[in-house]
């Protein structure tokens, strides 16, 4: 198991966001987290990245208890990539500088080497001509692809994607999803919170339905999305279909 979450609990004041959640992720596995707004998908990803401190439970990454207070979060985060819903690129840096920031400043790699690696990735995702541009000059889909590259150049063991297409225009969603599909081909382990049920069905090995801070139901996409066991999963999917999103 690459990632094991056991009995994870997180509260914000009186609101219990994660209520004893269990989830495991195998190496090379792609897991789609689905569920209503507020079901805890984003919070779980932030907890795994140690951006949010959990209130109880354990998160193991690669056999190491990363929720032990003796663990240095910066070291853990080098193994985990996180991509945000609204890209969070640094607006005062060019695309290339955004990508090479961590490799040069955190990993102390020579600038030329980091640049070569960044250009290789940009070439692969068709954005080589944007290397010198500033993020605000790019479309949302281009920015999100740069953000994914920025996470990937650190060679993470695990990539967390937090509703990465939610802020995009429909015609730009495809280019980001294609990129994620390519990463699955590379064998990248990914946990993605998503509202794109169709995409979850295509790319995920397993779909986990979060409800009230727990994984209520999980399994192969065809089963969870096509023939859910739990009544609440059925209700959730019915609402999605009603909204024309499946």
């Amino acid at each position: 198991m690459l990632l094991t979450c056991t009995e994870v609990r997180k509260t914000f004041g009186d609101a219990v966001v994660l209520d004893g959640l269990d989830l495991t992720v195998d190496e090379h596995e792609v897991i789609a987290l689905i569920g209503a707004s507020g079901s805890g998908k984003s919070t779980l990803l932030r907890c795994v990245n140690l951006l949010t401190e959990i209130d109880d439970g354990t998160i193991m990454l690669d056999g190491e208890d990363i929720t032990d207070p003796r663990v240095n979060p910066d070291v853990v985060r080098r193994k985990i990539g996180l991509v945000f819903q609204s890209y969070n690129l640094f607006p005062h840096m060019t695309v290339l500088d955004n990508i090479t920031l961590a490799p040069t400043k955190v990993r102390q790699r020579p600038a030329a080497e980091a640049k070569a690696q960044a250009m290789e990735w940009l070439d692969r995702v068709g954005l080589a001509d944007k290397a010198g541009s500033y993020p605000d000059r790019l479309s949302g889909g281009q920015q999100q692809r740069v953000a994914i590259v920025r996470a990937l150049v650190n060679s993470p063991r695990l990539l967390l994607l937090d509703e990465v297409t939610s802020a995009l225009d429909p015609e730009l969603v495809g280019e980001v999803l294609t990129m994620i599909r390519d990463l699955k081909g590379d064998g990248m382990t990914m946990v993605l919170a998503t509202h794109e049920m169709g995409f979850a069905r295509q790319v995920a090995d397993r779909v986990a339905f979060l409800d009230k801070g727990r994984v209520l139901e999980q399994g192969p996409p065809a089963q969870v999305l096509g023939d859910p066991v739990e009544a609440r999963t059925r209700q959730f999917l019915a609402r999605i279909i009603e909204a024309g999103r499946l």
Partner: protein
């Protein structure tokens, strides 16, 4: 929610205990390093060869007591001047700051005037401005020329007005254009957009540097003594001239620090609150 009474696991209790131990250790370490550094300073200063002389000429209790009434009299002028000048400078700064952001060819002369004003008054040393106002204007021998105190106060107001105008302008320009677009799309005029949407955000964002200018002004109003009126520092100087002892300056300095503390406290509080509000959520 399902578990109203969550009982922390042993693991969580161990984590809480570990963090508490770490917090206690941090506090002890801070106390220790402060004590060591404090002792070091004390030994360094009181052990210096000239310490006895310095103590005699800067820290004499009897002279401090004797000079205090006159210095307090002077300080009262500082306080009155500060309150009036701060209010006027903020109003002037707001006006000029807004004028500088006006667009359109009709406003060119106003904009140009406001720009020339902020550029020249920020460059001109306050002391020279005070001399020009306090000695130059009475020199014109016009009817109804106000007192030197008022003229000196005006010099301070126009100097600080220029600083404040620039701080507010930077605040106004830091408000994202989409906010103006949203307000205008609702049918608000430029003036109403400024009043209800842009300025509230701009002032909140510019509050820390703004209060910085106000704190700085609190000290600078004393420069009016160059034109004659006796403020706290001048009172201390007069006292020093009589006793050849520098203790009155220390007294005035302590009073100024005490006067600035509440303002500095407010500055920190406003800064913190703004940061907390803006970082809520993500």
């Amino acid at each position: 929610m399902s578990s109203e009474l969550h009982r922390p696991s042993d693991k969580q209790l161990a984590r809480i205990a570990f963090r508490r131990r770490k917090a206690i250790r941090s506090v002890l370490l801070a106390a220790l390093s402060t004590a060591v550094l404090g002792t070091l300073f004390a030994v360094l200063i009181t052990g210096a060869p000239g310490w006895d002389r310095v103590k005699q000429s800067f820290f004499r209790g009897d002279i401090a007591r004797d000079s205090l009434p006159a210095i307090l009299d002077g300080l009262w002028l500082n306080i009155r001047l500060f309150v009036v000048c701060a209010a006027c400078a903020l109003a002037l700064g707001l006006l000029v700051g807004v004028l500088r952001t006006l667009r359109g060819p009709v406003f060119f002369p106003v904009r140009a005037l406001a720009t020339v004003y902020t550029y020249s008054l920020r460059g001109l040393p306050l002391i020279i401005t005070i001399y020009l106002f306090a000695y130059g204007i009475p020199g014109l021998r016009l009817q109804g020329t106000p007192s030197v105190t008022v003229l000196g106060g005006a010099a301070i107001v126009i100097t600080y007005g220029a600083y404040i105008a620039e701080v507010l302008r930077s605040g106004i320009e830091s408000v994202h254009p989409s906010q103006v677009a949203a307000a205008r799309s609702l049918g608000l005029s430029y003036r109403r957009t400024m009043r209800f949407v842009v300025l509230p955000q701009a002032v909140r964002r510019a509050a820390p540097p703004l209060l910085n200018d106000v704190v700085s002004m609190q000290k600078d109003v004393g420069l009016i003594s160059l034109a004659g009126p006796v403020d706290a520092i001048r009172a201390a100087q007069i006292s020093q001239a009589g006793s050849y002892n520098f203790t009155p300056y220390i007294v005035a300095g302590v009073l100024f620090v005490l006067l600035a503390l509440p303002l500095i406290g407010i500055t920190d509080w406003v800064t913190l609150r703004a940061a907390r509000r803006q970082n809520a959520g993500t």
